[in-house]
């Protein structure tokens, strides 16, 4: 029989990665919003994600819902443990989500909704980074419940991961704008991508050194066989991707920065995955301990195997409808 919990851990990891990439670039545009010129650049940047942003955010619901469904025990432990960052994140997403529509409904207060879009994106990203850091550093568990304090999630390490994710999403957002726009906005995006790219690479280095120092279990896992086989080429691959990114940014190859950034995210994501497996709540609850019964997992798997390819197909179709460079003449009247 198949190892259903393991399959679901893989599917959930895939969903979270798709979320990070997709919502990453539209949150990134929110993070960069104050650096874009008033009105025309801002309008165009927002229009470039308006048709797709809520599809992107749906992957976050799948992440939350999927964790609840496949690993209810982990869901029941992680959410109370990270109570404040989760609540602040979803409230921040409220502010940025409504800005997509409100901004156009009330031209007199457009500035307010621009700020709401920016701050909402920034705070949501920072909270996601904190959640990531707190998750990696470990959660105290007793029995079937969270047993730590209210502020366990707030440490220098989590603040650093908050900043790191902000830099990473900003890079994704800038790379998206490079891909989708031309002229002055693209020039601006190139400048922003260079800054965000340097910041992202610095943070990747910091995380790579700090994590094994902070959590010996992760160091052990990274440097033991067979994981070592994967971990060893990672610095080389990162260096190659960083060089490709730099080449794309300085030679102005519009199609290069976005995919190389995604590849960098994938490497980081895989590195974390190797550090955490087989736990679903690091160092406390394993995938198999937290898994729902096989009957639940199988019932869902049937649907997921049929529906996920369909979802990916029509999502790809909707990206394809809005493909290519934005036409600024169509963006506003």
């Amino acid at each position: 029989m198949f190892d259903l919990p393991l399959i679901w851990a893989g599917l959930l990891a895939l969903a979270i990665f798709i979320y990070v990439v997709l919502d990453g670039f539209d949150l990134g545009i929110g993070i960069l919003f104050p650096f874009l010129k008033e009105k025309d650049q801002k309008d165009l940047a927002m229009n470039s994600v308006a048709p797709i942003w809520d599809g992107n955010e749906t992957w976050l619901i799948l992440g939350g819902g999927g964790l609840f469904a496949a690993f209810p025990l982990a869901y029941a432990i992680v959410l109370p443990a990270l109570y404040a960052p989760f609540i602040i994140m979803i409230l921040a997403l409220v502010f940025r989500g409504v800005a997509f529509e409100y901004r156009w409904r009330d031209p007199a207060h457009e500035r307010i909704w621009d700020r709401s879009f920016h701050l909402g994106s920034l705070v949501a990203t920072f909270c996601q980074g904190i959640v990531l850091g707190a998750f990696v550093q470990g959660i105290e568990v007793e029995g079937r419940a969270y047993a730590g304090g209210w502020w366990d999630w707030l440490t220098p390490f989590t603040l650093m991961t908050g900043l790191a994710l902000t830099a990473g999403y900003a890079l994704l957002g800038a790379a998206w704008l490079i891909l989708k726009t031309e002229g002055a906005l693209r020039d601006r995006a190139y400048g922003l991508a260079r800054t965000a790219g340097i910041a992202t690479l610095v943070f990747i280095a910091i995380v790579s050194f700090w994590t094994p120092l902070l959590i010996p279990e992760i160091a052990e896992r990274w440097f033991q066989f067979p994981q070592l086989l994967f971990v060893m080429p990672v610095p080389t691959l990162t260096a190659i991707l960083a060089a490709a990114l730099a080449w794309g940014l300085y030679k102005r190859k519009d199609g290069v920065p976005f995919p190389t950034t995604i590849a960098l995210f994938l490497l980081c994501f895989a590195g974390l995955g190797i550090g955490i497996a087989p736990y679903v709540v690091p160092h406390a609850v394993t995938i198999h301990q937290a898994a729902a019964p096989d009957s639940s997992l199988l019932f869902m798997l049937v649907g997921a195997l049929i529906l996920l390819p369909m979802i990916i197909a029509y999502t790809a179709y909707s990206y394809w409808v809005f493909r290519g460079k934005m036409d600024p003449e169509q963006g506003y009247h």
Partner: protein, 467 residues
């Protein structure tokens, strides 16, 4: 004591956030189907009035849907933050149902919403119609799964309990199609359609009062009044069936709805009014019609009816809330039937677009669907107390290990943010409704930009004929 406070606060928080959330889907379920009808009618007849209405309501849909999405994300995480024990125990059953909701509904809506809002002129007319149909279908799928979840909490079936105390699935068909699910689904979808119809009717009436020859206003008002006269009576029948199903599976809820503190061995009265007195377990100042409750519940004037005296105090739902919210829902339902009947009468007399008093009444009835939905929801959810999973898991045993101050702080944050953000959103919606479909087009002097933000706004004049 502090623990109990956290329970109350978490309950208030869930009630508050879900009450806000339920408003937007109730509207967007109906509106999505309405948009589909408008687009089909436009493609079939080629009449500009349908296209104008489609574009107008699509902009409103975009704002309402956006509010629904962000308030829905809150719900998907609140199960874990405040009700983690409930999540741990029910996850193996409810989790997959919600995962199916995400997979079959949320992605479908979000994936095709972009094409629907921004795709006119980019895709062919028939593909655009497909996108609208997918959005409408997605809203209905979403309702189906989430009502299956809710119904399972009311009438759990098809499960067993494992050694960790979790509910685990035995029979998925029995879980999904649990006893109250079909009734609740029909009742809720009809409620969503009626809610939308009365909003559309009110907007039509408002613009008729300004100009009774406005073709869009006439069309809206006419369509809404057809919905009222056909759907409102069906809803009364569906509600009755739902009530009988509740009597079978959750008798204590019906006792609270009826205000039956005592048992009535020779036929129970139907109380129209009364003040429930929880302490003394009696209905003060009661005005009732003898034997009518027995007739409604058992179709027999003298059928004995059991009261809350057969239920231990600690297992009774809070009677005053259930008693009153039920009456509010019923009263609005009856008013809706009345509006539908008067509308039909005026239509037959060819006075539908002329009778200004009736149009003013329709404006007042505009928000009535939302009130009825909330009242009905309060009736069924408060009536489920003191359980989260009826008869199986008590609310007090479902709470997360978070302190009352944390729940209180987040509750205050939700109240401030929701009233601000969704208050402003509602104001924008009202502003758009007040402007009306014609106005928007003449003011801009060019084709309406779908949802205002579209990069795809360049609609070819030949593709979308002007009136």
């Amino acid at each position: 004591m502090e623990f109990l406070d956290a329970v109350i606060l978490a309950r208030i928080q869930f009630a508050f956030t879900v009450a806000f959330h339920i408003i937007f889907p109730a509207f967007s379920i109906g509106l999505a189907s309405f948009l589909l009808v408008l687009e089909v009618q436009w493609l079939r007849t080629g009449k500009a009035v349908y296209l104008n209405l489609f574009k107008f309501w699509m902009k409103i849909f975009a704002v309402a849907f956006g509010m629904g999405v962000v308030s829905g994300i809150v719900m998907s995480y609140q199960f874990g933050t405040n009700w983690s024990v409930f999540s741990d125990k029910t996850g193996p059953i409810l989790g997959p149902l919600m995962a199916y909701e995400v997979l079959t509904a949320f992605f479908l809506e979000a994936g095709f919403l972009g094409v629907m809002l921004f795709g006119m002129g980019r895709v062919s007319k028939s593909l655009h119609l497909v996108a609208t149909a997918m959005v409408a279908f997605g809203t209905l799928m979403s309702a189906t799964w989430i009502l299956s979840v809710n119904s399972w909490m009311q009438t759990p079936a098809g499960f067993s309990i494992n050694e960790a105390g979790q509910f685990v699935p035995e029979d998925w068909l029995a879980i999904v199609f649990n006893p109250s699910f079909p009734y609740r689904l029909v009742h809720m979808v009809l409620a969503a359609y009626l809610t939308t119809a009365f909003v559309v009717g009110a907007v039509g009436a408002y613009h008729l009062l300004k100009n009774r020859t406005n073709p869009e206003a006439r069309k809206m008002f006419s369509m809404a009044m057809w919905m009222a006269v056909i759907v409102a009576p069906i809803q009364v029948v569906a509600g009755d069936f739902h009530g009988l199903n509740t009597l079978e599976h959750q008798p204590a809820k019906v006792m609270a709805m009826e205000g039956h503190y005592q048992s009535y061995p020779d036929g129970a009265p139907l109380y129209l009014f009364g003040i429930p007195d929880e302490k003394n377990q009696e209905l003060d100042y009661a005005i009732g019609i003898p034997k009518l409750s027995s007739l409604i519940l058992h179709h027999d004037l003298n059928h004995p009816v059991e009261g809350l005296d057969t239920v231990p105090d600690e297992l009774q739902p809070p009677v005053p809330i259930v008693f009153w919210s039920f009456r509010i829902m019923i009263a609005i339902g009856m008013l809706m039937v009345l509006v539908g009947a008067v509308g039909l009468y005026l239509r037959c007399r060819r006075k539908l677009y002329e009778n200004r008093t009736f149009q003013r009444a329709a404006i007042i009835m505009g928000p009535s669907g939302f009130v009825a939905v909330l009242a009905g929801w309060i009736t069924t959810e408060v009536g489920r107390q003191p359980y989260t999973v009826y008869g199986e898991l008590l609310t007090v045993d479902s709470i997360a290990p978070v302190g009352a101050p944390a729940v209180a702080a987040s509750l205050i944050a939700f109240i401030i943010v929701y009233f601000t953000v969704f208050g402003i959103g509602t104001w924008y919606l009202l502003k758009m409704m007040k402007q009306g479909p014609k106005h928007a087009e003449t003011q801009e002097g060019k084709p309406i930009r779908t949802a205002g933000t579209t990069p795809a706004a360049a609609i070819k004049p030949d593709a979308f004929p002007a009136e």
